[in-house]
Subunit: 577 residues, 2 copies
């Protein structure tokens, strides 16, 4: 594409508002106020020119890594998939509540795809038939859809979102695992280029299939995940799979607490028993726990049907118990720090602990099965730890280090899928030397949340003046702002000086002239709000002494320079941002 | 984006098949065979890397014209719109059968937007409040959705398709019409750059609103529209709005024919009476007409509810008539070439022409209202011409010229909308000097069918060997093919020589090396199938005498050249293609 001779802000539509709507403003509100996007419906957004530009730059950055570093080919699959295809993989039912489903005029069932394992596997199955057709690495950057129960925080959890999804097809498990490692490496480089401090954490595979998976987390208090990292070794895991060395003990076996949950079918009440206080083995202050410290993921590993969204489980279970008809159950789960005698006191003919909630239909009127679980049923060697890992816990990997637990936002995910989809959808290759035998391909899938990165960067780097973009994805790297009385030809000359820099490292430097008919302070406020990484001003200093002012809020730079020094200084800043 | 040092075909996934599946192959079948795309569901396609590349180039070409020539800003609206918004504009009901509709988990109604007048008007209404905020020109290039009754011909009539849609907002009708003219000019330039012989035809506005509209047609036998153009002046119109000077007369008033249609509600039978033969006034051979010559658009202008998709109307109406309950009607419409006495003979107490179909419930058993229409009810000065304009008819504009009627494919459409949407959705601006009074904005909307252009170009330019792309949208401008025994370093040197050409006029020249482990004839067949505009071969001539072969099928070029002559010759070809 031919760049125009000069890019002018007067020709770009980005409606900004100078005043925030409320006192405390989050990244999403600021993206709206700075004219990057507008919400159109719940969890659905229109991207305005500046937002689209950020998105395009981010897409190109990610695509470049996919193509040049992984030799991946770019495709573009339809957002529409068929319910019958998803039925084959078994995910139509599994993920039903999150799918936007619809039918056409002939009553054929479709859905808006949240991910494309089914479609790409069916596509490759048609085409690749032998090991010679592999490996294949196919990626796309397209909108995805998920009917979130509670869309929130703008781009961070929307119902329509743009994702980069890469799918890999190998002929053996060994090469698939090598592919997996390569992609992990490239993911690090991508986040590095954006200068984002992303942690790659071991993760669980959920309903994707396979058994090797990592999440790429940006630590931020707005995150909905918890990521655990060691201060001494390279151990990083998300909370669901993280382990810690148990390094505390209960202070007294009488100080316990209970958190109550319920299953989605409302028939099973779950009592989670945990200590009120523990004493770290290496001394230090007492630790006190509340319901917020319960490791829900661990509870779910025992009760997969747990409804984590319920605040008050008792009335729901009480209703189900009173209604009769279905058998109700009461499951007691006991944290390993509580002694065996505690578990025993919950059951038997005369339980001394009131596991049966008060204010409920008397026990003898409802037939209920009561059980106790106090060991880790998946791994007998691992104690049943129902308390979230705490900052300060000991690292399970290096043992000497201490763990840090922090809230984080997932920006990417890598999965080694194995044959989960290739088997279900018939993506097979013939075995060499035995043309009659076919084996399923070895697959991997690898996502990066494009929309989510935009929302996360806005949130992470904003300050009270406005947004702050890494140059790699800024709508423009540099804006030239001219005050009253400045000759536009001078600004154009400054533009040319900066524009000739071209590229710094991998990052293209683009510049725009703010030629709008507004005052200098108005334009500078707007430039801060939008978050251009570099602002060059032709103001009073220019009129007086032909000196420009360079500002770079993120680096705390503000200096007056001669036009001759300009390209060198800007190239340096551009490299640092 | 940084281009890699060298682009290799071995790293691009495009599964080709050397043999066509059937004898006669259309453009869509060839796009599949050459690995550009794959159908996934009825009227829905996955774009493979080559197809996506063509689409991206086309998008960038169109976007460049929007941004540089019209100062339009690029946005990206969600594919999802809400049913309530479409209800406000009145289009939810009007276009219901073609909308993909669905509900979310909270039972809120959404739809996949086929176009975005509603969303963009609602967006601009929030933001622009005074004449100073206008003019606005906003465009996007995004997927659109339409639940076609019969999706066919691949990208030419799909259910998911990519469209460029531009929306303009002006503060007065005068400036809106000026905008309209500017866009028309830019549309010509866009088609010119692709070297497509597109005709801009006057058109009707259909259900879009407004009263000024043009269609941009590519003449092709596969087209579903008919476009009429004059061989002498610049008169071009689509059939719906075209007029011609009546220049024939009936040979005898007894030779008539009847075409029967029916309304969608099945209560109204439409008899269209037309001459079997006419005699051109300026002499020449007799013209004979059949039902295929009926101008359905003209019939629809009288009977808007006509169901054009019905092949045999009689049984449907007969059933409705026999069922009773609803009043049935019989409308006779008479072509202006048949004499008044003919119309008279259809009605009255003793009609001599059997307008009442035989084999039907006897007339006296069903109460039916019978009418005759033989004048143009919209324009009394214009005769009621029910016969399609024929090649050779006289031009209504210059009178001396003769018209050409040909099948064509609509690639773009421009509409001056006026206040059709701004009024319904409250997009108003305050009147200068009267801050209490608001007037609706003046709008225009302007589409270009991106997917459709790809399908149309494939169809139009293909030959028996494969596809043929204009360089402006070719997946790569030039491929370098090397035979056995050629040193790859030589091919890389040729690559460098061509790559340094860069841009020719507005068109970027990109080159790719076919380094796949295949024979030279196999690779040349593949290159022809894919349709690279320029093929450079290092074959036996290279080994013997360091001479390359340049091929360009579309221009009939095949010549041996020295490497020193290469850049100049290729730049010349690139400019011509």
């Amino acid at each position: 594409m031919i760049p125009p001779a000069l890019t002018r802000l007067s020709r770009v539509w980005f409606p900004t508002k100078k005043r925030p709507a409320s006192g405390v403003e989050n990244g999403h509100a600021m993206l709206i106020r700075a004219g990057f996007l507008r919400p159109s419906h719940a969890g659905i957004f229109h991207m305005l020119p500046l937002g689209r530009r950020v998105q395009t730059k981010l897409e190109e950055l990610v695509a470049r890594h996919m193509e040049h570093m992984l030799a991946a080919s770019r495709v573009s699959l339809s957002a529409v998939s068929s319910q019958s295809l998803w039925d084959k993989s078994g995910r139509l039912e599994n993920t039903a509540s999150e799918l936007f489903k619809f039918s056409d005029r002939k009553n054929v069932g479709y859905l808006l795809a949240p991910t494309h394992e089914e479609e790409i596997t069916a596509l490759v199955a048609q085409t690749a038939k032998t090991a010679k057709d592999l490996p294949l690495r196919l990626f796309q950057i397209t909108p995805k859809y998920r009917d979130e129960f509670r869309p929130r925080h703008g781009l961070l959890r929307g119902r329509e979102f743009v994702m980069k999804d890469l799918y890999t097809f190998d002929s053996s498990k060994e090469s698939a695992l090598k592919t997996y490692d390569n992609v992990r490496l490239v993911y690090s480089q991508i986040f590095e280029e954006m200068k984002l401090p992303v942690l790659a954490a071991k993760a669980s595979s959920g309903n994707m299939g396979g058994n090797l998976s990592h999440e790429y987390h940006l630590p931020t208090p707005l995150g909905e995940d918890h990521v655990i990292s060691c201060d001494s070794c390279n151990y990083v895991a998300n909370e669901e799979v993280a382990e810690s060395v148990l390094s505390d003990q209960v202070v007294s076996d009488t100080t316990f607490r209970v958190w109550r949950g319920i299953t989605k079918d409302r028939t099973k009440l779950v009592n989670v028993w945990y200590p009120k206080q523990t004493q770290p083995l290496d001394g230090g202050a007492l630790r006190e726990y509340t319901d917020l410290d319960i490791n829900i993921a661990e509870v779910k590993s025992i009760i997969p049907d747990l409804d984590a969204g319920v605040e008050d489980a008792l009335p729901l279970w009480s209703t189900a118990a009173a209604a009769g008809g279905t058998a109700v159950e009461l499951v007691n789960i006991v944290d390993c720090r509580l002694p065996l005698s505690f578990s025993e006191s919950l059951v038997g003919t005369t339980p001394t602990i009131p596991s049966w909630p008060k204010n409920l239909t008397p026990r003898n009127q409802v037939p209920v099965s009561v059980s106790v679980q106090n060991t880790n049923q998946w791994n007998k060697d691992r104690p049943l730890n129902l308390i979230r890992i705490q900052t300060g816990d000991k690292c399970p990997s290096c043992v000497s280090g201490h763990l840090k637990a922090e809230r984080a936002m997932e920006l990417g995910h890598t999965f080694y899928l194995g044959t989960r989809y290739s088997e279900a959808l018939g993506a097979t290759i013939l075995v060499p030397n035995d043309e009659r035998k076919a084996v399923p391909m070895q697959m991997g899938c690898y996502g990066i949340g494009i929309s989510r990165i935009i929302g996360a960067v806005a949130e992470l780097l904003m300050d009270e003046k406005g947004l702050n973009w890494p140059v790699a994805i800024a709508p423009y790297s540099c804006v030239i702002v001219m005050g009253a009385g400045v000759d536009e030809q001078d600004a154009v000359e400054v533009y040319r000086q900066i524009n000739q820099i071209g590229r710094v490292q991998a990052k293209y430097l683009d510049v725009v002239l703010d030629d709008r008919q507004k005052t200098l302070p108005w334009k500078l406020m707007d430039a801060d709000l939008v978050g251009f990484p570099i602002i060059v001003t032709l103001g009073r200093e220019w009129l007086a002494a032909k000196r420009l002012e360079i500002q770079c809020r993120r680096l705390g730079v503000k200096q007056a320079v001669e036009i001759t020094e300009l390209p060198q200084i800007i190239a340096k800043l551009h490299g640092d941002l």
